[in-house]
């Protein structure tokens, strides 16, 4: 680990002001940041510890939604009765991620901002445009079994590794931030994460010194919720493909559906075209295939991850079949 100075923030605005300085990093749960610091993928010269800020509450909002403080631990969010009753897809996605020990530390804000688990991003001896802009992408012609098939660029094919964020994308969550001047902002989760394009090192729309303070969930949409995660082992592994689905159907007919995907793209992926094909459609194989084709439009494999294209089709088929079964 490279040397750094350590400061504990006493207010969110002070934290933002400290974080805007070059070399400064916010630390919350630290389960991803410290891992990366040990490997010198991250080398902050100053750490701003926000763990003692009062951002750890889950509150009802006037419109019937929930406001989740940025420091609510993943385990507490997953176990919250309101989340379990009304946002089962979120609880299930959280429980699908990491291990119990990590969920006890990992925070809501930190989970959104965690970095990719691309092997080449983690290996500082290898080219990586995300870690070292302009150095190239070793994954393109390397081991790319875990990499993205949608939303990639010739500069980066890394995936966003979060499960939680995929469920939040399906729920149309909003991310609340504050900056060093104390100005608050609300960012739809769809606009929080960026696609790599020519600047894979810029992963979010957050400005320097802008800190996530909360995530707000609108009231739950009608329908049943499911999170299906396909991975290399039954527990404690990142998604090869995951689906967060909210489907409203009755008597073999789908009224509406929301579909978000993990493991496929550099950000939690939503497919409005696929959702549109499901509106007022019969819950049958033909409908599911059409939806899968819409999700996979433009999908491209890079060798090792070609299997994700048929796997996505089969996973979505299975999820929709199970959710619309009478």
């Amino acid at each position: 680990m490279k040397a750094f100075t350590y400061h504990r923030a006493d207010t969110t605005v002070h934290a933002a002001a400290a974080a805007i300085k070059p070399g400064s990093k916010i630390i919350a749960g630290g389960t991803n940041l410290l891992d990366l610091m040990k490997l010198q993928v991250e080398t902050p010269s100053n750490l701003v510890d926000i763990n003692r800020l009062p951002l750890d509450k889950i509150e009802e909002t006037p419109d019937g939604g929930l406001r989740i403080g940025a420091l609510v631990r993943n385990s507490d969010l997953a176990a919250d009765q309101r989340v379990r009753q009304r946002y089962g897809v979120l609880s299930r996605a959280l429980l699908a991620g990491a291990s119990a020990q990590l969920r006890n530390k990992a925070t809501t804000g930190g989970n959104l901002l965690q970095r990719t688990r691309c092997y080449y991003f983690y290996d500082i001896t290898k080219p990586c445009n995300k870690r070292n802009p302009g150095s190239g992408c070793a994954a393109l012609a390397g081991f790319n079994r875990i990499h993205a098939i949608l939303g990639t660029s010739e500069h980066c094919i890394a995936t966003h590794p979060s499960d939680m964020a995929v469920a939040m994308r399906a729920l149309d969550a909003k991310v609340e931030t504050v900056n060093d001047a104390g100005d608050a902002k609300i960012i739809p989760i769809a606009e929080l994460h960026r696609l790599p394009g020519t600047t894979p090192e810029i992963e979010t729309s957050l400005k320097p010194g802008e800190i996530i303070t909360a995530v707000t969930l609108p009231p739950p949409p009608p329908g049943v919720q499911m999170y299906r995660k396909v991975r290399d082992r039954a527990s404690y592994a990142f998604a090869l493909v995951s689906v967060a689905a909210i489907v409203d159907s009755a008597r073999g007919r789908i009224r509406s559906a929301r579909l978000a995907f993990g493991g496929l793209a550099p950000k939690p992926w939503r497919s409005p075209q696929a959702e549109q094909t499901l509106v007022n459609a019969p819950a049958d194989t033909g409908t599911f295939d059409t939806a899968a084709s819409a999700v996979l439009e433009g999908a491209r494999g890079f060798g090792g991850n070609d299997f994700k294209i048929p796997l996505t089709r089969r996973t979505l088929h299975s999820v929709l079949e199970e959710m619309t079964r009478a």
């Binding site: 630290g30 389960t31 009753q85 609880s91 429980l95 020990q101 404690y236």
Partner: protein, 220 residues
Amino acid sequence: MDEHESATDLNSIEVTRRTVIETGTTALLLTALPGAALAGPVEDKEPSPPAVKVDLQINGHSHSLVLDPRTTLLDALREHLALTGSKKGCDHGQCGACTVLIEGRRINSCLTLAVMHDGESITTIEGLASGDHLHPVQTAFVEHDGFQCGYCTSGQICSTIGMLAESRLGVPSYVTEDLTRPAAELSDAEIRERMSGNICRCAAYPNIVAAIKQAAGLPT
């Protein structure tokens, strides 16, 4: 291990070694420790960052330390306080050998900085027994032979204690059928899922599950 280690730190390692020798189980324990845990300091050409003062409540005792801010909680325990029961396996939060309880909740002590826990209450494997009376989870691991080499065991036991507390609070897991019901009974599948953050290279898993069922008061 952090790159920078002071002379004081090395002395505390020496004390630890002697303590181990005096207990008479030297050979086994020393060979079981990975190289990183006993390796000398790595040459660090950078100047050290300012040290920070940290007060930790460990197993009911207050400890005041002055640490390089890079010191993980695991290294503070092992290298500065000679509490070597918590093990360093992967040092990246993947194996669970370093699991300790902070304010009763299980965490990976390798993936957190000691300074982040100033004033907090920490329980390690050394704090579980009362004199010669083992904690019921320790007894269950012994009675069911829930280990072979034993390197993961202190993490498994601390993790089990945290897991049983979570279960009593009705915390669900990924394999819990119905999230809207309060508490799931600890089936084998529930135990395996809830303990997936603790890897056992000897694969003593069937006996670990049996030990946990005994500790939970379930038929084994």
